[in-house]
Symmetry: none
DNA sequence: GAAGCAAATTTGTATATACAAGTCAAAGCT
DNA sequence: AGCTTTGACTTGTATATACAAATTTGCTTC
């Protein structure tokens, strides 16, 4: 029996192992855009898997934007630049911090029992003890972000020990609980009375509310609500398509 | 042989028929949030399909955000409120259009001289003649997007000839001026009085304003302002990194 | 060298079958 | 009444097998 890439002891489903193997090669740069991925049959041999298991892995990677497939021709690495850039997205406060004139004011940094919503978001038992921080971030003396964050102690046991004057929650979490997955959700809301006070805005100032949830090592590590006054803040993205003429980039990279 | 829902003459793959059947029931309102979808075995019977085919359909609908599944418990209709992948290279109206119950109302479709802002955005001379359209997009009779768009004639000379009842500006532009680059910018705003009328919302309804600029063959092809009421609409992204242990996905994926 | 054709390879779709794991309700026991 | 066990049902993962459709490759003929 020849050795295969498959690892039956890890508890990771085989189709996920195949996905990880391919994504690793793309992220490492070993397989660049348009590189031809081994055929389904070749991967069957390499993993000792069934073709349907390999097919599922490749289809899901295709749906996620990593690969593109052409019937009869093969499977190729897609233009993943944008997605890789996204993987590097940091907390907005950190991007802005690098521009100088940044300060933050911690309002809260303590343990708390997880209510139903937070428990569901962090995937812990209701009333389990979790960490809760709230800070206002300032740029040039103006608040630009209200951060309300819950952290799963299992993912970052020493979280409460950090000094929020020295580093943002996210800076710490990136080291303590290297992220494996991120979910973002954006919507437009009006600020609550408390948020109006913290952000020094009026009741009719629309805000961008960014929900950010991160995973680390199979655990939900953190859940943050980041509220930004709409008049001081916007999000932007910029990317090019593989087959079009490139043009010189002018605007700074997206946050 | 009992009748089944399967249609072998349509050319539509069976797993897609299953997806269409379920999506139709959700979009029609017949199945509302938390409704329990028939089990895989029940659907096997209804479609005369194999369980793996049914499973694929349900998994994909789950990945797309329509359903949520709990092992041992069942499959349920998810919160299907409108959500759009933040970085998708498609006009939002088109994503929603694919769900059916979509209409649009053109308000404007003509030439206009480029004012300073528009000239800068399109990279044409001030007062140069450009094309200007404005439409309201509806889903289930409710306006969800106000589109204000300027088009560079050099990139799409025949733009004004299109019938906005037949296709969206973006559908046309994708063909006439295949895009090579896209820039998005998102912010939260309150609607202007005109926008309140067009979108049928109150003055305090915060809106997501998406600026979208596209390039084609080295030219700026189009600049659009897309305004969405915040209570009917949010954006989300979701992606994973290779080195994290797999976790069960609960939150819906963007469309 | 070009054209035509068949075989091989590749992805797309589908089925039957099996075992694992989670949930829930009913039955049995105390 | 409360607890435990069991069976049924449900989703999760996996395999072997098969045919369809698209593309590529190799061979033959001219």
């Amino acid at each position: 029996m020849t050795a295969t890439l498959r690892d039956d002891s890890s508890g990771v489903p085989l189709y996920e192992q195949v996905k990880d193997y391919i994504r690793d090669r793309i992220l490492s740069g070993e397989w660049t855009i348009d590189h031809r991925v081994p055929s389904e049959n070749a991967l069957v041999g390499e993993f000792g898997a069934s073709r349907m298991t390999i097919n599922r892995a490749l289809r899901e990677l295709t749906d996620e934007g990593w690969l593109r497939r052409v019937q009869g021709q093969g499977t190729f690495v897609s233009d993943t630049r944008t997605r890789i850039e996204l993987l590097e997205i940091r907390n907005i406060a950190e991007v802005i911090r690098s521009r100088g004139a940044y300060t933050s004011k911690p309002l809260l940094h303590q343990t708390a029992p997880a209510n139903a919503d937070v428990a569901e978001a962090l995937e812990v038992a209701e009333d389990a003890e979790i960490y809760h921080s709230r800070l206002v971030h300032y740029l040039d003396g103006l608040p630009f972000q209200l951060e309300d964050r819950f952290v799963n102690p299992a993912a970052a046991p020493d979280y409460l020990a950090i000094d929020l004057a020295e580093q943002t929650p996210n800076e710490y979490l990136m080291r303590a609980a290297p992220l494996s997955e991120v979910e973002h959700r954006l919507e437009a809301v009006l600020p609550t009375p408390d948020q109006q006070v913290d952000l020094e805005i009026g009741p009719e100032q629309p805000c961008l509310l960014l929900h950010r949830r991160t995973w680390s090592g199979g655990l939900v590590a953190s859940r943050a609500w980041l509220t930004h006054p709409g008049d001081r803040f916007y999000l932007s993205t910029r990317f090019s398509h593989s087959n079009g003429a490139r043009r010189d980039r002018q605007s700074p990279r997206p946050l």
